[in-house]
């Protein structure tokens, strides 16, 4: 009898642990969900979901927003009214934009006007981001590989492309620079020197190897050198995001091609003591970020995806141009709006050049 009692009490204990865990999980989850969908509460104003579009517009143009987003008054008229029910937009994106925190910042600014539009970023490489778009699982893409973009434009997967930002790729390498990349005249020469040093066993090169924008760029540079590093023991294909490759580069004291935004962020955080920026010159290394809408996206979601892209495009200077200045001393991304024509020419050149 006593054994039976302890047995059942033990079972009850285990069951109650599971039940409490699941129940608290469920309650916490729904609480966090309802808290986040309740609308934006800012220091200067509070939106509720019942306000009409004009009310929000006047409020936006008379408060807070006039300081940060000066052009919004002329543009807001073209924006759709905030939806009354929650709308979820999936945006697939390159890792370099996501890892710096820029996209979360853009989404949080956008949510000040559209609290009911939830923007979900799926951070993968550019190649995978476009593939996800092709399968119809994302409504918009943020990418940086013009030749891949051209391919998907031709396939009819994406439309409404616009350049939103640019920065430069850089060669990151060990402080003692065994391949002498620092004083090379151009990037093709730099890659040739890394190849030679690699063959001598003095250098390691880590490739993204994940069909991302940076990887595509790296391959196109190798292509220009006329050398094929694939399969060489010093050429390591990581198959990982920019962030992880930079960490690996630091561990192995290797060379890699990186976008400057991710590099600056990591360098500032002190995660890259063994490597530094060795080469950053020339239009050869330009890195152009574009946004697209996905054609197969359902119309009711697409208008808000378009609103988000418009919002980002129209406020590049205020949002992208200032992002990271306070933290890193320089903007991680340059807004494209002033140099749009030049960038479009470069974009076309890269898209054709492959």
């Amino acid at each position: 009898m006593r054994k039976g009692l302890s047995r059942s009490s033990l079972i009850m204990y285990v069951i109650s642990i599971i039940l409490v865990a699941v129940a608290s999980g469920a309650i916490g989850y729904y609480m966090s969900k309802s808290a986040s969908s309740g609308g934006f509460t800012g220091p200067t104003y509070t939106y509720t979901l019942t306000r009409t579009h004009t009310q929000v517009y006047t409020e936006v143009s008379t408060t807070h927003y006039t300081k940060t987003i000066s052009s919004i008054s002329t543009l807001y008229t073209n924006y759709p009214p905030p939806p009354s029910t929650e709308i979820r937009i999936v945006i697939s994106t390159t890792t370099s934009l996501y890892a710096t925190g820029l996209l979360d910042y853009l989404a949080s600014e956008f949510n000040k006007i559209y609290p009911n539009v939830k923007i979900n970023f799926v951070a993968v490489g550019t190649g995978a981001a476009l593939k996800i778009a092709e399968k119809g699982d994302a409504c918009a893409v943020f990418v940086h590989a013009p030749n891949l973009e051209q391919e998907y434009i031709n396939k009819g997967v994406i439309e409404y492309g616009r350049i939103i930002a640019y920065n430069f790729f850089i060669i990151v390498g060990p402080l003692d620079d065994p391949a002498r990349v620092r004083d090379t005249p151009n990037v093709v020469e730099a890659f040739k020197r890394i190849y030679e040093a690699g063959e001598k066993g003095q250098a390691i090169f880590i490739s993204r190897g994940d069909n991302s924008g940076t990887h595509v760029k790296e391959l196109s540079i190798w292509n220009k050198t006329g050398l094929n590093p694939r399969g060489r023991p010093w050429y390591k294909e990581a198959g990982a995001g920019m962030d992880q490759v930079l960490v690996m580069t630091n561990e192995l004291k290797a060379y890699t091609l990186s976008d400057i935004g991710t590099y600056l962020k990591f360098k500032k955080e002190g995660r890259l003591p063994n490597v530094e920026q060795l080469f950053a010159k020339g239009a050869d290394l330009i890195n152009i970020y574009s946004t697209y809408l996905v054609k197969s996206c359902p119309e009711n979601i697409k208008i808000y995806a378009k609103a988000f892209l418009d919002f980002v495009y129209n406020n590049q200077k205020q949002l992208i141009g200032t992002f990271g200045v306070a933290e890193y001393g320089a903007p991680l991304f340059n807004p494209a709006i002033d140099k749009e024509k030049e960038l479009a020419c470069m974009w076309l050149e890269i898209a054709r050049g492959g």
């Binding site: 033990l10 285990v14 865990a21 699941v22 916490g28 989850y29 966090s32 955080e269 995660r271």
Partner: protein, 219 residues
Amino acid sequence: MGKILEQYYGELVDITLRSLYVSGVATLLAFSWSIFIAYFLASRERVEIISSIIESLVGMPTVVLGLLLYFLFSRSGPLGVLNLLYTPSAIIIGESILVTPIIVSASFRVLRAALQTYGEFALSIGATRIQTMCLVFRESYPGIIAAIIMAFSRAIGELGVAFMVGGNIKGYTRVLTTAIALGVSKGEFESSILLGLILLSIMIITSVSLKIISRLYRI
């Protein structure tokens, strides 16, 4: 560690609760059908082939399942109209499929043992099939609960399904394992370690409970 805790506290709690919720619901969902599959198998003769197939699926690679489910849930896939991809529901469905073989094969054994001991006897003294089933369940429940705990540990610790059909979306489908993977890839090892400790302690609590039960009842 204190600084990190402060910085990530809200997100840590959010991610942990979401993990418990997703894996807990997935386990209970899987239990609801697995137990009947297990009983059906236990009450039949000559099911060795089926049961060994199910046993081999216990170690199913989560990335393979994740990939298959991605094609299934994708908008261009057969279940695309349900809009399940990149939602917590997709992870729940995926994990419940993942742990089904675990619950079936673990409870199959205890149910078979209980059936051999009590099944014939119960029927011979005039119990109906339903009554026999209830009796067998009652006699083997420690083993069944052990199976549930095993399944829960597997569900909360898996990465492939949560990554591929959940998408690791901040504040929506980010669970402990995907957050750890993201932290490692970002080089933010401190927050990853913290999340890893949370995950480990959840798993240890469940497996210690499992050990206590199996020692007491020699499952």
